[in-house]
């Protein structure tokens, strides 16, 4: 022992302090922080996703409407790419050299060690050609997935389309989606996306430091298989849907057919339409722009977002309210001198009927009768004033589904127009009265409805007092789930007894020799209906027909609108009759089939607005070319251009 003995403690102290420094840092790294644990998983764990097939969609008879077709995404891991014949490669997948370089650069920037998509959705044929030679292109591989295929090429607006997710979709869905996933963007694909999309499968693969796969993590304990989307049964009848689209060829408008007892939509035609198959595959973007640029807006889903004045087709509804209110009886007559004077404003009829009752008034679509009914409703003595009467009335109209959304299972539904008294006061000032808004009596003026709402009114009349919310999907999945809303009856508070006289009138409109749609009578089937010829600011009158059939135990309620085509009896009524007959009997009877074929060929496209292009001589092309004007659509029946007061043939 010497006097330096105590220095031992200095050394031992240094040992212990420095060891504690190490332990402190280890404690931080291993116990307090999970940063390194996450980083280590980043190192070795790579999630490989398998894409599910989207759910198959059937029509009401079990026919496949949408199926899945395999396509192949070409992926690349840049650091595994070795020299290869790029020209051959480009030819195989159909791109050029600058395109190749652009894609390869993009993939390299994304990651040199991780797979990134090189080219999307190679067809089976391209894949087959490529697969044989894939070994010559190290670093490239394919990943299978499926895209939609629509065998019938119809009902584009009904189906909507599927697209790769955008960053916004990813942000809006709490991280459910990853880049490269697909999402429904419109139509049923959007509305039922959650059911249709299925579940992504995931394989947790372990990779070593050289990026060589080392098998699955924990024997695949956390791996999942891709689960196909649920199958969805649509309420559409693809046969009449197809017929409807054919009949509407070269016409602009919409057809909605509903099964009254269930609210199921049988046909959902929006014209012009587009082939849903064009919205699939590598050309989707180009096709989208092409369709978007076409005249008459093919992407507009007319059955639920097209606004039309109901016109004369509104009359049965007004009559029902009047009967329920007791202001008219079926036998009450009004005198029709061919015009009704609302103050100094005439509402004309196209005929002089003399004393006319409910049944005949409907069959002949008498404007004067309708105006008298409206007058009676607005001038009931039980109301303090006409505004109160009007509000009571519009509330009753609203019960029929006008002026409000029907909650159909389709995005972009609009509610139509139906004013309250306040809105009128705002527009006309304090002193308006029923004569001011007399146009409502004949379904014009401040009133618009979608084709779906019109068809739904027919379903209400067919059901004699209630409707079930119209819907396009009957059931989801194997358990046939159906939304509770879609079995509930919505009553319109009109007694069933009041429907009979109205239905009588509608029966005559089609079946009596004096009916407006007599030419569209279906042999052996009692169809009840109502034509409409709707004034509109865009050009010729819209041709409208609403109806249901057969009279007893109705199976189909229908609304047909052909824009700017003329009389309701000329276009809309025959189209409705062909569809109804086809639906009820499976065929179109002899003699009428030829007329249906002819209807398919008739073109009734509205005149396009003249493009407003100013020709500036200074800026014009030196060669003296005229600025190109889009070809206007062919016009077949310009003679029928009647633009007078509410025409009621």
């Amino acid at each position: 022992m010497d006097n330096l003995f105590s220095r031992k403690y200095v050394l031992q102290g240094i040992f212990i302090v420095l060891a504690l420094v190490l332990i402190g840092k280890l404690f931080y790294m291993q116990v307090l922080s999970d940063k390194y644990f996450l980083l280590s998983n980043n190192n070795v764990l790579k999630k490989i996703y398998t894409f599910p097939a989207r759910g198959v969609i059937f029509d009401r008879k079990g026919k496949v409407l949408v199926q899945n077709e395999p396509v192949y995404d070409l992926l690349v891991i840049p650091n595994q790419v070795k020299e290869f014949d790029t020209l051959e490669f480009c030819n195989l997948i159909g791109i050029d050299m600058p395109g190749f370089r652009k894609r390869f650069h993009k993939a390299t920037v994304q990651s040199r060690y991780q797979p990134s998509t090189f080219e999307k959705q190679l067809s089976v044929q391209t894949y087959a050609a490529l697969q044989e030679k894939l070994s010559r292109f190290p670093g490239f591989f394919v990943q299978g997935r499926t895209v939609r295929h629509y065998p019938d090429s119809v009902a584009g607006q009904f189906f909507g389309y599927v697209k790769e997710v955008t960053q916004k979709d990813i942000d809006d869905n709490d991280g459910y989606y990853r880049p490269g996933d697909y999402i429904g963007k419109a139509g049923v694909e959007k509305q039922y996306n959650d059911a249709l999309r299925g579940e992504r499968g995931v394989i947790n693969m372990l990779y070593d430091a050289r990026n060589v796969p080392q098998g699955s993590y924990l024997e695949g304990k956390f791996d999942t298989l891709a689960k196909s989307g649920e199958k969805v049964v649509s309420s559409l009848d693809i046969d009449i849907q197809k017929l409807g689209e054919q009949l509407m060829t070269n016409k602009v408008g919409s057809i909605v057919a509903i099964e009254p007892s269930t609210g199921e939509v049988l046909a959902f035609v929006s014209s012009p339409g587009y082939d849903p198959n064009r919205m699939v595959g590598r050309q989707q973007g180009n096709n989208y722009m092409d369709i978007f640029g076409q005249p008459n807006r093919p992407f507009l889903v007319r059955p639920i977002s097209g606004y039309y004045s109901p016109g004369s087709s509104f009359k049965p509804l007004d009559d029902l309210i009047a009967l329920q209110e007791g202001v008219i009886t079926p036998d009450m007559t009004f005198n029709c001198p061919g015009v009704y004077w609302a103050g100094n404003h005439p509402v004309k009829c196209e005929h002089v009927d003399g004393n006319i009752s409910l049944r005949r008034g409907l069959a002949r679509s008498c404007n004067v009768y309708a105006c008298h009914v409206f007058q009676k409703l607005m001038t009931q003595s039980r109301f303090k004033n006409q505004k109160q009467a009007y509000d009571e009335w519009q509330a009753k109209v609203r019960k029929f589904g006008l002026g409000q959304k029907l909650d159909i299972d389709m995005p972009f539904e609009r509610k139509g127009t139906l004013f309250t008294s306040d809105q009128y006061t705002k527009r006309f000032g304090k002193y308006w009265q029923y004569t001011t808004v007399i146009s409502l009596a004949i379904g014009q003026g401040e009133m618009s409805a979608t084709p779906l709402q019109m068809a739904n009114i027919m379903a209400i009349i067919a059901n004699k007092g209630y409707y079930i919310k119209p819907h396009l999907i009957k059931s989801i999945g194997d358990r046939k789930v159906i939304k509770k809303d879609y079995v509930q009856k919505n009553y319109v508070d009109v007694d069933a007894a009041h429907f009979e006289p109205v239905i009588d009138g509608m029966q005559d409109a089609v079946n009596a020799p004096w009916g407006t749609a007599n030419a569209s009578r279906i042999p052996n089937i009692m169809m009840c209906g109502k034509t409409g010829t709707v004034q509109n600011p865009h050009g010729k009158n819209h041709s409208v027909f609403i109806g249901f059939a057969p009279r007893d135990n109705p199976k189909i309620a229908i609304a047909v609108i052909v824009e700017n085509a003329g009389y309701g009896g000329t276009y809309a009524a025959p189209i409705a009759s062909y569809l109804t007959e086809k639906y009820l009997t499976g065929t179109i009877s002899a003699g009428r089939a030829e007329k249906a074929e002819a209807m398919k060929k008739i073109s009734a496209l509205p005149e396009l607005p003249k493009p407003k292009i100013k020709v500036l001589p200074k800026n014009a092309d030196s060669a003296g070319k005229q600025p190109s004007v889009p070809a206007t659509a062919p016009q077949s029946n310009t003679a029928l251009n009647t633009k007078n007061t509410a025409a009621t043939p």
Partner: protein, 422 residues
């Protein structure tokens, strides 16, 4: 009291606790080398072509070597210390001529299928001669001549190893400073030395203007508080000026003398550069592996970073990352605990020696081992620069294992003979 028969008996007075810790650390080494080299297709423990099989041979032969040392006469080591030192210095010269260059360092002499690393053996050669010098003449380590001679004994192998150039092994010899301190080297010399190291690092971190002005302010303050004592004022002024002069020398040293890769490593460790895919890759991956072990580790053979080769040089310099990943904080704590327990014990044992030789040797050995442990683990967790020195008894490698075995067993022999004369 002196009983020659007793002293010659094989395990007489041997400190069994140290031997147990030695064996425990060797076992930890084997288990973790096995894990870091594990291949599910060849899981034979006695596969002597694999690193872990070889390590088993090294451990076995190490034990034989150790026990043969116990058989020798304790006096041998003090008597032959200059010879052993001479031989190891000679080998350090030989390696510069016939050595094989591995990874930029000409540190290995090829011997059949093995490679001998003379710098490992130079450690105990130096320890022996230093102990002999301090014990034999009983020099006062406060006078300059003795300090210079002791420094020369240490600096010779450092210079030779630096020629390889193996900075890591060179720095190990700095640990001899502490046994000298125990034997009387003035404490201020240590303070000056480590102060220089700290200034060196600050020099890289801070702007010269800031550093110099803060040294001047600090010096000025000290002068002000000692304004009544002329001697101190002069001393502080001298220190301040030489510190500033040192800064310039250090800057030149760093930029001109150090190898580019060493410079990069130091810069990375000080956080002056970030480059997770370049030179910092090893450290980054090692930290990830260790940190991912969390409290109890992923379990034996279950470390993903280990299994899939994410940490380079894992069985040698970065063996601690395997311990950290598979055994977690608990495992790390136990291993560090074993070392600290061993070294504190060695210091205590050294203090109970009658002979100065044994005591100096014991201190030298404890400090060398601790230096290795601290630097090696420190670099694995990103506290220290990557200078590539092994974790004693655990890292894969025959030279290193044998060198530490010899180092420890010579001390055990000396201790077992503490009642006799050396």
């Amino acid at each position: 009291m002196i009983n020659p028969q007793q002293s010659n008996r094989f395990f007489f007075n041997v400190d069994w606790v140290t031997i147990l810790i030695y064996i425990a650390l060797c076992a930890v080494g084997f288990v973790n080398i096995y894990a870091s080299k594990y291949n599910p297709e060849i899981s034979d423990v006695f596969n002597f072509n694999s690193n872990y099989g070889k390590q088993l041979i090294f451990i076995g032969s190490g034990l034989i070597l150790g026990f043969s040392i116990l058989l020798m006469d304790a006096k041998f080591f003090s008597i032959f210390a200059p010879v052993i030192y001479g031989i190891t210095m000679f080998l350090l010269l030989v390696v510069l001529v016939v050595g094989r260059n591995v990874g930029g360092n000409q540190a290995w002499i090829p011997l059949g299928s093995f490679r001998l690393q003379p710098s490992e053996f130079a450690k105990f050669g130096t320890a022996l001669l230093l102990a002999r010098y301090i014990s034999s003449f009983n020099p006062k380590l406060t006078n300059l001549k003795s300090i210079l001679i002791a420094a020369a004994i240490i600096l010779l192998p450092m210079a030779l190893i630096m020629l390889q150039p193996d900075a890591g092994s060179t720095l190990v010899f700095l640990s001899f400073m502490f046994p000298l301190y125990r034997e009387g080297l003035p404490g201020y010399l240590l303070v000056i030395f480590w102060g220089a190291v700290v200034l060196f690092i600050l020099n890289l971190y801070l702007q010269p203007v800031i550093l110099i002005s803060s040294i001047l302010i600090l010096g000025g303050l000290f002068v002000y508080f000692n304004r009544k004592k002329m001697q101190r004022m002069i001393m502080i002024t001298v220190i301040t000026i030489s510190a500033i002069g040192y800064l310039f020398v250090a800057k030149i040293l760093f930029e001109k003398v150090l190898q580019p890769h060493q410079r990069t490593r130091i810069e990375l460790i000080l956080g002056l550069k970030t480059d997770p895919k370049g030179a910092g890759y090893n450290v980054n991956q090692s930290k990830i592996a260790i940190g991912s072990g969390q409290v109890l580790g992923r379990g034996f053979l279950l470390g993903t970073q280990t299994k899939y080769g994410y940490v380079p040089e894992q069985s040698t310099d970065f063996i601690f990352s395997t311990i950290g990943e598979e055994w977690g904080f608990a495992g790390c704590f136990v291993v560090i605990g074993l070392y600290v327990f061993l070294l504190v014990r060695v210091v205590n044992i050294a203090e109970r020696q009658r002979s100065v030789f044994s005591r100096v040797y014991g201190y030298s050995m404890a400090c060398i081992i601790f230096f290795h442990v601290f630097i090696n683990i420190g670099m694995a967790i990103g506290l220290m620069p990557v200078i590539g020195i092994p974790l004693p008894l655990i890292s894969y490698g025959g030279s290193s294992l044998w060198s530490f075995t010899v180092l420890i067993f010579i001390f055990l022999k000396l201790d077992s003979n503490r009642m006799g004369f050396i």
